[in-house]
């Protein structure tokens, strides 16, 4: 255990330590607290410049309902769901298939394909921007959620394949030999042997992918224009343009955008952390 564990019996030290940690945590999250607090401000307070003094009223309900009723935020939210969930499912499927093949089959070019999947992940999005946009235009998919789904599935498959391939490669060889001895086809082995065993990896990956795709901003801006297609990220940027100084509403909108991944994260912390470190540290 490093650093040295503060002993259970040293009560004073423990209290001091927790106080220190608490203080640093508050400073760390101060920007977020500021936004949350501002999202409670009533319009009257904002107009009169009373943003940090004692509030004249708490306008939580009003602000958040206003965001949903007076702006396309609800629609943006729905679009995010429509884009993210199918993408996650798509990536999980393709990466498990590809990871399985790369992990268990030796063939010339295996390492090369793997390297391409990994390297592709480090590409700056800008180098793909124009051709991808062009491709979507030519496929008549420009300004549709489908375009975003296709892109995200394609891009995230790179990272996800690395992840699944490492995980499957760590499974004991004997399992596969036993399956082969019993006459299972590769596909049967995949479905009946591999998938049940990689469930924890899939869970971790699903959380990570959800976060990455939900939070994407660049491609939302590049591939969509209309409000009925935009996800929350691009939507929030638009909102900021519209209500320049209605900071209480903008704050509420920001919190709405931020909430789903944060909630997912808290519900599945173990998986999230495992996911981030599994791919990286195990490597």
């Amino acid at each position: 255990m490093y650093p040295r564990p503060v002993p259970e019996t040293a009560h004073a030290s423990r209290r001091l330590y927790m106080t220190l940690v608490g203080a640093i945590l508050i400073i760390w999250l101060a920007p977020l607290f500021a936004v949350i607090l501002t999202s409670f401000r009533s319009m009257a307070d904002v107009m009169s410049g009373n943003l940090w003094g004692w509030p004249t009223e708490i306008a939580v309900v009003e602000n958040y309902t206003a965001v949903f009723t007076q702006t396309p935020m609800a629609g943006y939210f729905l679009n995010s769901l429509v884009i993210t969930i199918p993408s996650v499912i798509g990536v999980l499927s393709l990466s498990t298939l590809a990871g399985f093949v790369l992990a268990r089959y030796r063939f010339p070019g295996n390492m090369l394909i793997f390297a391409l999947f990994v390297g592709g992940n480090f590409l700056p999005h800008q180098i793909m921007m124009i051709p991808v946009r062009d491709l979507m235009v030519r496929l008549n998919l420009y300004d549709t959620t489908t375009a975003l789904i296709i892109f995200h599935v394609a891009f995230q498959t790179g990272f996800a394949t690395l992840f699944m391939r490492n995980f499957i490669a760590a499974l004991p060889d004997e399992l596969f030999q036993a399956a082969r001895a019993e006459g299972a086809t590769p596909f049967q082995t995949l479905i009946h042997v591999v998938v049940p065993l990689v469930r924890p990896a899939l869970a971790a990956l699903a959380i990570l992918l959800f976060t990455f795709i939900w939070n994407d901003y660049f491609w939302a801006v590049v591939l969509t224009v209309s409000d009925n297609v935009k996800p929350v990220t691009a939507g929030l940027a638009n909102l900021r343009g519209e209500w320049v100084s209605a900071w209480n509403l903008i704050s509420a909108g920001t919190i709405i955008v931020a909430v789903p991944p944060v909630v997912m994260f808290f519900l599945m912390q173990k998986h999230f952390i495992a996911g981030l470190t599994m791919g990286a540290v195990k490597g």
Binding site: M1, P3, P5, V6, Y17, M18, L20, L25, W28, P31, L32, A34, V35, T38, W52, L94, S95, L97, A98, F100, Y105, I113, L116, G120, F122, P124, Q126, I127, M128, I130, P131, D134, V153, A154, F155, T157, T161, T185, P186, L190, T211, N215, Y217, F218, V222, T233, L236, R240, W247, A258, P261, V262, M264, F265, F266, F272, L276, T277, A280, V281
Partner: protein
């Protein structure tokens, strides 16, 4: 037909399994990247025909003052982002205790990591807002007036990088916490028996065991610094007057707002080459260090 399948099943099945992912990735990601390089050799407005101009875009780029502003800003991003691993390590060391409630505390430190970059951008724009932002509040508590960071040509990039450091530090913290969990108890014990304490223990016993994690943290941080786009787009749109723009943003601006796709592709290519060069250099250095038995 079935017997043909049966005979070749052993190699057909894996091929078919990997094909969808591989094709999708190759077409959308890899082919596009190569295509951009091709487009950069043309003059194109996105609708009309592509006109071959060879290295014309690159020649223009070299003489473009905005290009150098972007490069300079990318450099500032790179250097300042190097703060993320050490600060991440410091926080990881701080919270790595098995006290009740520590898990919740750790999770709360991670929050910036799961926030959308858009949200982080908006949050910090709010913090930097003159008169009403958190920064202004703090300055007022000391009786001073906060500078309008996002409108100041000289300070804007630094302000944006600080916003971007928020999630980046959280990411490094996650990595280092995992690394600290994997420390060898025996090595730490041997260090204690040898009388290593505090800084000595950290430097000689702990950090060497965190080398792999540090490598990953630095790699991801560098890539993040060079790829930065979201924060700039949300907070300043490259302003004021392009003084906070970076290569990624300039490329976007030229393509989408100025309809100069060829020129934009050229900027993207330069960015790509810079990243590729750095990553290759870094990788070879690490591999050589590994072979020396570090």
């Amino acid at each position: 037909m079935t017997s043909l399948w049966r005979r070749h099943r052993w190699w057909l099945t894996p091929t078919l399994l990997i094909l969808p992912g591989a094709i999708l990735f190759a077409v959308v990601i890899l082919a596009s990247s190569v295509q951009s390089l091709w487009i950069s050799l043309h003059d194109w407005d996105g609708f009309g025909p592509m006109i071959w101009i060879g290295l014309g875009n690159y020649r223009e780029l070299i003489n473009d003052p905005q290009f150098y502003v972007s490069l300079k800003n990318n450099l500032i991003w790179l250097v300042m982002f190097m703060l993320a691993p050490p600060i991440g390590l410091a926080i990881a060391l701080l919270v790595n205790q098995k006290i009740k409630g520590m898990r919740v505390v750790k999770s709360m430190f991670f929050i910036p990591l799961v926030l959308a970059s858009v949200a982080v951008g908006v949050v910090f724009t709010w913090v930097y807002t003159p008169e009403f932002g958190l920064l202004a509040l703090i300055f007022r508590a000391f009786g001073a007036n906060a500078p309008a960071l996002l409108s100041d040509e000289h300070l804007v990039t630094f302000a944006i990088v600080i916003a971007a450091l928020w999630p980046q530090i959280a990411f490094c913290m996650v990595l280092y916490l995992a690394g600290l969990n994997n420390l060898s108890e025996e090595l730490v014990g041997a260090g204690r028996v040898d009388g290593a304490r505090g800084w000595n223990m950290l430097r000689h016993i702990v950090l060497p065991q965190l080398t792999q994690v540090t490598f990953i943290a630095i790699a991801v941080t560098v890539v993040g610094a060079l790829r930065s786009f979201d924060m700039i787009s949300v907070m300043t749109r490259g302003g004021p007057f392009g003084s906070s723009s970076v290569l990624a943003y300039q490329m976007f601006e030229q393509s989408i707002f100025s309809y100069r796709f060829g020129y934009g592709a050229a900027i993207a290519s330069v960015l790509f080459v810079i990243m590729a060069v750095f990553i290759t250099w870094y990788l070879t250095r690490i591999i050589r260090a590994e072979e020396r038995g570090a």
